[in-house]
Symmetry: C2
Amino acid sequence: MNESGPLDGVVVIDMTRVLAGPLCTLLLADLGARVIKIEAPGTGDDSRQFGPFVNGRSAYFAALNRGKESIALDLKNKTDRAVFERLLGRADVLVENFRAGAMERLGYGWEALHGRFPRLIYAAASGFGHTGPYAGRAAYDVIAQAMGGVMSITGQPGGPPTRVGTSIGDITAALFAAIGTLAALAHRHESGVGMKVDISMLDCQVAILENAITRYLATGEVPGPLGARHPTIAPFEVFEAGDGPIVIAAANDNLFAKLCAALGLPALARDSRFRDNDQRSRNVVALKREIDAALGPRSKSEWLAILTEAGVPCGPINNIAEVLADPQVLARNMLVSVEDPVMGRQRMPGNPIKLSAFLDPPTRPPAPELDADRDRILAELADDMASP
Amino acid sequence: MNESGPLDGVVVIDMTRVLAGPLCTLLLADLGARVIKIEAPGTGDDSRQFGPFVNGRSAYFAALNRGKESIALDLKNKTDRAVFERLLGRADVLVENFRAGAMERLGYGWEALHGRFPRLIYAAASGFGHTGPYAGRAAYDVIAQAMGGVMSITGQPGGPPTRVGTSIGDITAALFAAIGTLAALAHRHESGVGMKVDISMLDCQVAILENAITRYLATGEVPGPLGARHPTIAPFEVFEAGDGPIVIAAANDNLFAKLCAALGLPALARDSRFRDNDQRSRNVVALKREIDAALGPRSKSEWLAILTEAGVPCGPINNIAEVLADPQVLARNMLVSVEDPVMGRQRMPGNPIKLSAFLDPPTRPPAPELDADRDRILAELADDMASP
């Protein structure tokens, strides 16, 4: 089903729904793994009911599940459980994003799975992980963002708590789950044995707090939101050209001198208030005032051309339409197409992992209809039984 | 040097600086790889000069480079180049985050490396990737966040562009680089040959836009910032208890009914304005007004207890101090300790990838002083030369 990739031959059983789990298995599919979604009969992955819809089909589901196969199995039914277990016997990886304890209630907790399928790698992504006092609780993205601290450092100073506009609670859990799965796969090449990978959305939020934790522990000051500013680097934020905002990041003295020259303000680079990053950070408001004043007479596009020519890192603040029209985004094949039999041609984000050994095809296979691959999968299992 | 992990035996040559590259190799080190930093003599990784400082040493550098080794090499010096090449001959992976073209200027571009070290995996993380019209340009986190679109969907409606408060431009590049590296390692087990992994910060931002792209392509409407709200799920945002805000995410009808019951407003679940997620999303302002009014008479902690007991996903909006004191964060060992010979005991984020087959030690080895491991590394190379 998939285009070839480095994970060719790896079989992933996908018991995931909505975002964190499906994004993890999408990454594995994009890398060449065969991903077989096990879905609840009748309804399937909850996100099949999430808008926006195109010709009655969920564009949300379609983007997260392209290139996967689907079989509907009722894991409380004996016959379906037998099919599921034969699939596990052929699989390398099982990924799920249920609440902690759900797999145990189905009889497929890690101990049971590992006893029967010792080579199987089992990756679980949940709100709080499978251990600790909150293990049984459900979480969604905004819960992880709020409890994990990123909302407390995102937004305008003194303003209301602000959610990151994309679901980084789910997305980072997907990425760490993929890393853990691939590390477990590397280890299985040596040991022959699988392991469990237990990913918590809350843990992942802590892992991405970066210098906020370091600053708090070193200084005792609790970091707050800074609008568009970086907490410790200046200039590194939004500035105002004549017709709107752009971003400029002159993160060292050399780049700052280039910026001052390009702005026609060479004296600024020698101003004692701005002589090094430490001084620039202390006088960041005055610095922004000087730069904004210098930018005022010209437009965003004029300044981006001038600064780029001068080698000063800068860029526009793109909206989603502008992102998808950006020549670099298009040149990097970050918008791929899928021919869906019901929805027609759909565009969606591509795979950001560009590999020298594999093509990065601009068209990809569609997401499956619910239970679309049942007959072929059952036939393969029957062949297995027939062969010695 | 490292605690044992699934990547035990994997040797990573680390030519990275500051954040995206060092975070990638930190993940690999946390998973058991041996990571050898190649640093510029005299200065080393730029972030050794980044605050905050503890006893004159960078806490920023210390957190991102724990458990790694260091050797200072001048890659324009013939003797040092010979050492570097002998290290590459023993290595599995090379990671760098220079601007595109920098490795070619050193004579270590992918073609040259692959010719001499065919098993070596080469992972590059850069602002715009190694292809396309912007390939030669430098970028920093805020440039990637601005050009990649996340700033256009983060912040308050009608408010100024808002940077995500942590460097997700760098961080997502680190995570995708780690995934690509591990996928390449899996493929090398089959093929015996390494490949190049080319990661662009801008590509990674596009890859995490999630439903914003889907919504735009399906509807033609350009998504904007929504404060703390989710674009398509309600209730899923910040609400006001008597003494401050909490988050509640009742993402389906069943959870919404539980929420209404816990709020003492069972009629709300039958209100036609709120009868399904689609209606709730259309009437999200009215819904928030009803819920805020119901929450007013009790405190945050009272409501969190009531809602948690009722099985409704909810949580506090933690600041960084509160995150680091959270019982779940502590139970999951997400705050580890390092005994630094100069800084003393330092705490820093742990590894969110919890594996059944390996311990997750609460104390970790410190970051290296510049060139700290020179003698031992040179002695190992000499042993190699001496043995047949």
